[in-house]
């Protein structure tokens, strides 16, 4: 931060806002990327590796098992990780900003 955090106006500075948004957006984009890669890759695998994706796994075809069953827990894991980190991030930001104010 360019400004001293001890000024009461520090949370109204551009630098504070920029950092706040950047940190949260970084986390969101990282999580979104995991998801988007999977969403883009599955149709591509179906397209270029149809035999591989059609092999039987417990009676399902591999691609059916992935899309119809495994995709749901995969997304739960991403959202769980996001929530944990995002709340931790918010707490840290709030603490840092309030510490700065009371100094």
């Amino acid at each position: 931060m360019s400004e001293s955090p001890s000024t009461p106006d520090s949370i109204h500075s551009d630098a504070f806002l920029a950092r706040l948004m950047r940190d949260q957006l970084k986390l969101s984009i990282a999580c979104a990327l995991c998801f988007v890669v999977a969403l883009v890759a599955l149709p591509l695998l179906n397209y270029f590796q149809p035999e591989f994706m059609a092999q039987r796994v417990f009676g399902f075809t591999l691609t059916w098992l992935i899309l119809g069953v495994l995709f749901f827990p995969f997304v739960w894991i991403i959202s769980y990780v996001f929530i944990k980190r995002s709340i931790a991030l918010e707490d840290a930001e709030a603490k840092a900003a309030l510490d700065g104010l009371t100094k």
Binding site: I11, H12, D14, L17, L20, M21, Q24, L25, S28, C31, A32, F35, L39, V40, P43, N46, Y47, P50, E51, M53, A54, R56, F58, G59, F60, T61, T63, W64, L67, G68, V69, F71, F72, P73, V75, W76, I78, S79, Y80, F82, I83, S86, I87, E90, D91, E93, A94, K95, A97, L98
Partner: protein, 590 residues
């Protein structure tokens, strides 16, 4: 003749289960009506709903006739490709969680038009934004009405489809105009649990008797297998003429995504033309798949009747927690509807031959009656009654939610802010009730027209419009400081209206069988795909327009944009939200 007589008879179990669902829903509406007093209670339940209740309620509202009946019907009809619907319905919430849920809640506005106005200080923008609540809403109510018509026509075999639509539409409209949203939170939460119960219990019982999910899937041979390796004990009825072939049904890029090209191939005259089209079939199919994914994933994050619920969370952290629970609750649900479709394909292929409300969309309702042929007639009727009750819960809850947000848009935004800004809360409440009645009547009228279309397909179209209008608006407004009102409005209007136009064109030509359009689609299969699934071009178009126009009008970025961004992104612990709201209350804004 005997069969005909039996078909005209009404199964008492099915009728009783359905009636009980309706009575409980309506009863809860009346019971809570006395408890919701103020306008705030009516619009967002006084903003005091806990995470568990709110997550159940959002899930209950979200799981519509498309999820309960449409997904199963579409998986039965189209196989693998239709699986993208349930998966993206559930996983689309991730985008909402990652980019929109927390900030939007912190901003402290009732509805998306509130947000649009507050973010850009522009009452004009509110008027533009409010239109899309109605556009998306009406597209979304049509399939709910089809679900209602289909279910009633199944329970009372002689009943005409449109009678069912009118009866259900009237009951729900009455319920909403009496109870408002406070009632709905409770009713929606209850209905989520009812729907999960109604989709899981019958399929567990059924699968234990007629064979499991993967066993019935195994009975369909893939392109590499010469014979289906049907496990012992799995019987399968012969497929009918209109049913898709096994290897097409079980594999990606099947009948859903290749229909446009297949129609063109059928009409092609020369072998060269045919060969050229065949070569395009798979790439176009991939394009269709991606466009569908974009529509569903981005569309979830832009549904007005879902977003309004996030304001009932106490703060941004609760909004995020709620979203995660919603993903788990609906994800669990969405595993099951495809099972009905898969077993239905094996054991009820006669549904492929019927059209409209007698077709595959009713497989969830009818499948349990198979047990009658396996010496459990009573069990079959009871389970079918349970799935019918779930279907009622599905279209009633979603239609109620849509009715609330559309009526709010009319009463709160158009009447309360544009026509009569000086109106009292009582007048607005009255306006809300009248708005509910008007929208209910229009929805019923539209619903009677769409019997031929697939429930799930219609909901997908509503998602595509949301994806091209509200999603870019929310996403860009939350994360980009340089957005101007003109940029936001241009992007949302052009993207949203072009998607709306393309979809309306395909829907009209399918419903009313317009010959000239049908000929055009056959001649241009790629155009047909891009009109049927516009998200792949409409979403980027909206975002690019927002950026370009905002850059061109950079001088009109709201002066207090930094304060607005702080309100959106700073943790509540800093107490910025209150500051913002007080400031605006002083100005008579919020």
């Amino acid at each position: 003749m005997n069969a005909l007589l039996a078909a005209a008879g009404i199964d008492p179990w099915i009728a009783i289960c359905s009636l009980v669902t309706v009575v409980i829903t309506v009863g809860m509406g009346f019971w809570t009506a006395g408890k919701s007093k103020s306008a705030g209670d009516f619009f967002v339940a006084g903003r005091s709903v806990s995470v568990g209740w709110n997550a159940s309620a959002i899930s209950g509202e979200y799981l519509s006739a498309a999820s309960f009946m449409g997904v199963a019907g579409m998986v039965m009809l189209n196989g693998y490709d239709a699986l993208w619907y349930p998966v993206c319905y559930a996983c689309g919430y991730l985008f909402l969680l990652l980019f929109i849920a927390g900030p939007l809640r912190r901003f402290g506005a009732y509805t998306i038009p509130d947000f649009a106005e507050g973010r850009y200080d522009s009452p004009l923008f509110r008027k533009i934004a409010v239109c899309f609540v109605l556009f998306i809403g009406f597209f979304y109510t049509m399939p709910q009405m089809k679900g209602a018509g289909t279910t009633l026509a199944y329970i009372f075999p002689g009943l005409h489809y449109s009678v069912g639509v009118i009866v259900v539409g009237a009951v729900i409209t009455l319920n909403v105009s009496l109870g408002g949203m406070k009632g709905i939170t409770l009713v929606q939460a209850f209905q989520y649990w009812l729907k999960v119960f109604a989709i899981t219990i019958p399929i567990f019982v059924l699968a234990s008797i007629v064979g499991h999910y993967q066993q019935h899937l195994e009975a369909n041979k893939t392109a590499q297998e010469t014979v289906a390796a049907a496990p012992a004990g799995i019987e399968r009825k012969a497929l009918t003429a209109k049913a898709p072939k096994d290897e097409q049904w079980i594999a990606p890029f099947g009948s859903l995504t290749t229909k446009a090209v297949d129609n063109a191939i059928k009409a092609a005259k020369t072998p060269e033309e045919k060969a050229a089209l065949e070569a395009n079939k798979k790439p176009y199919s991939l394009l269709y798949t991606y466009s569908l994914i974009i529509a569903l994933v981005c569309g979830t994050a832009g549904l007005p009747h879902i977003l309004v619920r996030f304001y009932t969370n106490p703060d941004g952290v609760a909004a995020k927690r709620t979203t995660m629970w919603v993903m788990i609750l609906i994800g669990v649900f969405y595993v099951f509807p495809p099972v009905y479709g898969v077993i239905g394909r094996s054991l009820m292929p006669e549904l492929y031959e019927a059209i409209g409300s007698k077709g595959t969309d009713k497989v969830v309702l009818e499948l349990p009656t198979l047990l009658a042929g396996r010496d459990y007639p009573l069990l079959g009727s009871v389970l079918s009654g349970i799935t019918c009750a779930g279907a009622f819960a599905a279209f009633m809850s979603t239609f109620s939610g849509l009715l609330v947000s559309m009526s709010s848009a009319l009463a709160h935004d158009i009447y309360g802010r544009m026509l009569k800004p000086e109106s009292s809360p009582e007048q607005r409440l009255k306006a809300f009730k009248w708005a509910a009645v008007i929208i209910g009547v229009v929805s019923v009228g539209l619903g009677t027209q769409v019997e031929k279309l697939n429930i799930n397909y219609l909901v997908g179209q509503a998602f595509a419009i949301a994806a091209a209008s509200y999603f870019p608006l929310l996403f860009m407004s939350v994360w980009w400081r340089g957005m101007t009102m003109k940029g936001a409005a241009t992007g949302m209007l052009v993207g949203g209206l072009m998607a709306l136009g393309a979809i309306t064109l395909t829907t009209l030509s399918d419903v009313y069988a317009v010959q000239s359009l049908a000929d055009f689609w056959v001649a241009n299969p790629l155009v047909r795909i891009l009109c049927e699934q516009p998200a792949i071009w409409a979403v980027p178009l909206a975002i690019i327009l927002m950026i370009v126009v905002s850059k061109a009008t950079a001088s009109t970025v709201p002066a207090d944009v930094r304060m607005k961004m702080l309100v959106l992104h700073a943790p509540e612990a800093l107490g910025l939200k209150q500051e913002y709201i007080k400031e605006h209350e002083g100005l008579g804004g919020h």
